[in-house]
């Protein structure tokens, strides 16, 4: 039995009675004629009676068939069985690719893009289910398709469209809400081929239900390539746009600490960036801030131009060590999810710093340690440890944020290796030279033609000639972060620093354009004084004079303390904080020392969705994960990081003591760009892809979508043939009125 696109219209078959009724009405509408020459009429009637009745019956039959054909054409029949398969139709697989990225939470009036998408999916599901057997249905969300291949990618996977389907679909849809991911369509498009392969004997109707944001669809070269791969399948592709217009949206794109020493009790500056994705200027925008459980004064951004990002900084101060939470949020706008930004600051009681002095008196080291930790009420958060060079090779260096080497004469190879490994792994290293330092050792062991940790080849130590007439300060600093604090200061303490002796750079050395080394401060005579370079993940800064006021008078100068604290902040950045870098949907792989903790880890999730507020940050469910031990590392992975917020892992020490770790998970703020592309732009950017573009509210099912072999066109020909035969027969049965002249 064929099925129908509009089975309700089959009631129209009642119209089959119309020709019969017309016939009966005509019986009553007979013109009455009193006729004299009945004899001849009766003869004629007797002669042709059978033939006339046969023609009349045939005519009635043809007319009823024509009416039936019209009804069937309107109801759009489809052949699904093996005959339909022979004719070209067969099983049909409806595949719905559903954008559930958080831009779909775009809300207007009393609906959201996501809710509109749900309506469309329900419509597709119910109409497909009404088409009967031989059909299946798959539902793939963008966010699920983006997960690793071994996880469940589809909410419905080739589910047969049977009587239970409507309930099943409804059950699935009711439980789904918009995700906080920024998952694009690519993964879902790839998932179709991965999950279902090439269609063999099945028609595919693929619906891509999305908001078609410009960020993802403006230049869809890769998408086009993937979609074009479906061409040989003969699949029908429908784009359903759930958003009627692009609305203005604001998002917090960053919340991170500025460079500085992160330690308990030390004032720290955080910066928060707000981007205006809209097309209108925004004025007087308040940004609410929270530090742990207390509210901070709100920031007010005076104005943000369309498309611009404004960054403001604000101070926080956590008196205790540990992982502290900072949350920034904006007032509600069309997309609420990107109005929140979370950060976790891991503050130690103090930051350990290693100072190695080559001289037994450790004069330089003392100056450095004093500058970093002056003592008294002043808290810098830095905990300097002064050691001899042998410490480098004998003790682990991991716990230090930075290592300062002053007046080094020589280092053994293990110490050099340890130092370079420390730097490569992201640690900061600073060199101060001195009388014990020799250019030969530095050039051969530490510089090694650029392969070593030292940033430049050294020449001989030189005296800076004193020129009484020249009032130029000895120090000429660049706008490097270390010296930025002095920028614009007219009477800087730096101006009073004098340098008498320094190590020159090797003759002819000049940092190449592509070299990692950079001169960040020079002497009055143009000779480099402070040179930095990147080494692996770490930063290395070389100051070509002494730390102690031996070759200069800098040590007692207040600018020395400031410079040193800035240097420390610079060497320690990027700060070892969690936060901005961890995106929604990326699993949290927690690694701790296996020997110290029990393997069971309990994760606490934040409450999801746009209702997330700082106070409810940890109100979500708990997930217990049994960690795996690999060597000395216990790792536990939380895969369920679908909502933004602050996650907490509760660890239990071997002695039973509880300890927690926190992770700030944020959304990809760029998803908040709500500009959309329209059908013509899509068509222009993807000329190789055949698709039909629909607006969600006007999405209409057509017979081509429904699978099976459509009989409509065949019926149309049949109807034409029926009408022609009917006319011929009617003419033959003399039902056509004669020409006027023939009438009389």
């Amino acid at each position: 039995m064929p099925s129908f696109v509009h089975p309700g219209l089959l009631w129209g078959l009642g119209l089959l009675a119309v020709p019969v009724i017309i016939h009966l009405i005509n019986l009553f509408r007979h013109r009455r004629v009193e006729w004299a020459a009945m004899e001849f009429l009766l003869v004629s009637q007797k002669k042709s009676r059978r033939w006339i009745i046969l023609k009349q019956l045939l005519l009635l039959l043809l007319r009823m068939l024509a009416v039936a054909a019209v009804v069937f054409i309107v109801a759009q029949p489809l052949l699904n069985n093996q005959w339909g398969a022979l004719l070209g139709g067969s099983k049909t697989h409806h595949i719905v690719l559903w954008d559930d990225s958080f831009s779909m939470s775009d809300h207007w009036a009393d609906t959201t893009a996501f809710a509109e998408a749900k309506k469309v999916i329900r419509r597709i599901g119910s109409q497909a289910a009404a088409q009967g057997q031989g059909r299946s249905f798959s539902l793939i969300r963008f966010s699920r398709a983006a997960l690793p291949a071994d996880s469940k990618p589809a909410d419905l996977l080739a589910v047969p469209l049977d009587g239970e389907f409507a309930n099943r679909l409804s059950g699935v849809l009711d439980n789904l809400s918009v995700s906080e991911t920024a998952a694009g369509p690519l993964a879902a498009i790839e998932a179709v081929a991965r999950l279902f392969g090439a269609p063999e004997g099945e028609n595919r109707v693929i619906y891509l239900i999305s908001d078609f944001r410009a960020a993802q669809w403006q230049e869809p070269a890769e998408l086009e390539r993937r979609l074009a791969e479906w061409k040989p399948w003969g699949a029908q592709l429908h784009f359903v746009d759930c958003v009627s217009a692009a609305r203005d949206n604001l998002a917090i794109t960053a919340l991170r600490p500025q460079p500085g020493t992160l330690a308990a009790g030390v004032e720290l500056f955080l910066e928060v960036s707000v981007k205006n994705f809209g097309t209108n200027l925004v004025r007087e925008l308040p940004v609410r801030l929270r530090q742990d459980d207390s509210q901070l004064p709100s920031l007010v951004v005076d104005q943000i131009a369309p498309g611009a990002t404004e960054t403001r900084r604000f101070p926080v101060n956590f008196p205790t060590a540990g992982q502290h939470r900072v949350v920034a949020d904006l007032e509600s706008d069309p997309v609420a999810i990107d109005n929140f930004r979370y950060a976790v600051l891991d503050l130690p009681l103090s930051v350990p710093v290693l100072i190695v002095d080559g001289a037994p008196q450790a004069t330089d080291a003392r100056f450095l340690a004093l500058a970093m930790a002056p003592g008294g009420t002043v808290r810098t958060g830095i905990d300097p440890v002064v050691e001899t060079p042998s410490y480098l090779s004998s003790k682990p260096l991991d716990k230090f944020q930075a290592i300062y080497l002053a007046n080094i004469e020589n280092l053994d190879q293990p110490a050099i290796d340890a130092l370079e490994n420390f730097a490569r792994a992201g640690g900061g290293v600073a060199f101060f030279l001195g009388e014990l330092s020799s250019s030969r050792f530095f050039n051969e062991s530490l510089y090694r033609n650029g392969a070593g940790v030292f940033p430049l080849p050294l020449g001989n130590p030189l005296d800076l000639l004193v020129d009484r007439l020249n009032k130029t300060p000895d120090l000429d600093v660049s706008d490097h972060p270390i010296f930025s604090v002095f920028a614009g200061e007219r009477n800087s303490f730096l101006g009073t620093v004098t340098v008498e002796r320094y190590f020159s750079a090797a003759r002819g050395w000049k940092p190449e354009a592509d070299s990692p080394a950079r001169i960040i401060a020079r002497l009055r005579n143009g000779a480099p004084l402070v040179v930095e370079r990147k080494f692996g993940e770490g930063k290395v800064v070389a100051v070509l004079t002494t730390a102690a006021p031996v070759w200069n008078n800098w040590g007692p100068n207040p600018s020395f303390v400031i410079t040193l604290l800035e240097l420390q902040a610079y060497l320690a950045s990027p700060p070892r904080t969690t936060g901005d870098v961890h995106m929604v949907g990326v699993p949290w792989k927690l690694e701790v020392e296996a020997a110290a903790y029990q393997p069971r880890v309990e994760f606490r999730l934040p409450a999801g969705g746009p209702v997330t507020t700082p106070g409810a940050a940890l109100s979500g469910e708990r997930v217990t994960v049994d960690g795996t031990v690999s060597g000395a590392v216990l790792s536990a992975t939380l895969t369920d990081t679908d909502v933004s917020g602050i996650y907490e892992a509760e660890l239990t020490g071997v002695g039973g003591e509880a300890e927690s770790r926190r992770l700030a998970v944020n959304v990809a703020a760029e998803e908040g760009a709500l500009a959309t592309v329209d059908a013509s732009q899509l068509a222009a950017s993807m000329p190789d892809v055949n698709f039909e573009f629909h607006a969600a509210d006007s999405f209409q099912w057509t017979s081509r979508d429904v699978a099976g072999f459509s009989l409509s066109s065949g019926l149309l020909y049949l109807l034409a043939a029926l009408l022609i035969v009917e006319q011929l027969l009617a003419y033959s049965a003399s039902y056509h009125p004669p020409a006027r002249e023939a009438a009389r």
């Binding site: 007979h30 004629v33 020459a37 004899e39 009766l42």
Partner: protein
């Protein structure tokens, strides 16, 4: 003739309700167009002289009177009758049918009275028989002018009814009018064929000159009906629901066969047959009658 002929058209004739006036209108209208006087007599007894009028036959000019008085007079003879014309008018139910201004009965009656008028004008004896299955009214043969009234009454009294049975009628007529004369049958001939032919033959055998005016309506001859139609027999009890166009061909064929048969039988028995449509002007009938009358005269 065309100027006067339009007054002979059935539409014009139908406006005159009195049959007598109608007949006079028809005959006078007809005669006014003729160049030759229709009046002629073959009597032996002289009746009177009458001044010559154009159109009189010059043979009847009395040359002796001309010689005496130098005036043209024609001789008129007293003659009871020199022709006996019997008008047989079908007044059966089937004659009620008509699609034009006159139905067949009215047309037939007009023909009959006009012929009677014409005949009486020239001193012929005219009788009239109206019939359906039996003879409904009969007037004897008379040649007096006032006899026309009797004929008209006979026709008017006879509202058409019932089925035609022609042989019986013709037989009866043959018996009733034993002297040879002219028999004019005005009918739609929707009768049993054998009876008709036998009746005509009988009349011929009795020496009558027989003239048949077969009056048919246009619709009967052409069958132009369209659309679902219920035909109810005027004489037969049958009724037929049909699409008339489907039956037209068969009908015309059957009708044609019948007409051929009648025509052939008439020719065979030297019966003068004329198929008249009720839409035709009436002069055709009169012309036919007169030519027949002349022929008969010559035959006599």
């Amino acid at each position: 003739m065309p100027g006067s002929r339009r007054f002979l058209h059935p539409e014009a004739v139908s406006r005159i309700s009195r049959l007598e006036l109608r007949a006079r209108h028809v005959v006078e209208g007809f005669l006014s167009g003729m160049h030759k006087s229709p009046y002629f007599g073959q009597s032996i007894e002289f009746a009177q002289h009458r001044e010559y009028a154009p159109g009189d036959d010059p043979r009847h000019v009395d040359w002796k009177v001309w010689a005496k008085q130098d005036r043209y007079y024609v001789k008129q003879f007293e003659e009871e009758t020199n022709l006996r014309a019997t008008l047989l008018v079908d007044v059966s139910n089937s004659m009620r049918y008509g699609s034009g201004p006159l139905n067949k009965y009215e047309y037939a009656a007009t023909i009959a009275v006009s012929l009677a008028y014409l005949a009486l004008r020239q001193q012929d004896a005219v009788g009239c028989v109206s019939f359906d299955d039996t003879i409904r009214a009969k007037t004897p043969l008379r040649s007096k002018h006032n006899h026309l009234d009797a004929i008209i009454r006979a026709l008017e009294q006879s509202a058409p009814e019932q089925k035609t049975d022609l042989f019986g009628i013709l037989n009866n007529v043959a018996e009733s009018y034993p002297r040879r004369g002219m028999i004019v049958l005005v009918s739609d001939l929707l009768v049993e064929r054998d009876g008709l032919i036998r009746g005509l033959r009988l009349l011929r055998q009795r020496g009558h000159d027989v003239l048949v005016f077969h009056v048919m309506d246009d619709e009967e001859l052409d069958f132009p009906f369209t659309g679902p139609t219920r035909f109810e027999g005027l004489e037969l009890p049958d009724a037929l629901n049909c699409n008339p166009r489907a039956l037209r061909e068969g009908y015309l064929q059957a009708l044609g066969t019948y007409l051929d048969e009648v025509r052939r039988a008439c020719a065979q028995h030297t019966v003068d047959y004329a198929l008249i449509r009720t839409s035709q002007p009436l002069d055709a009938v009169l012309a036919r009658y007169l030519s027949n009358r002349l022929g008969m005269h010559h035959r006599n």
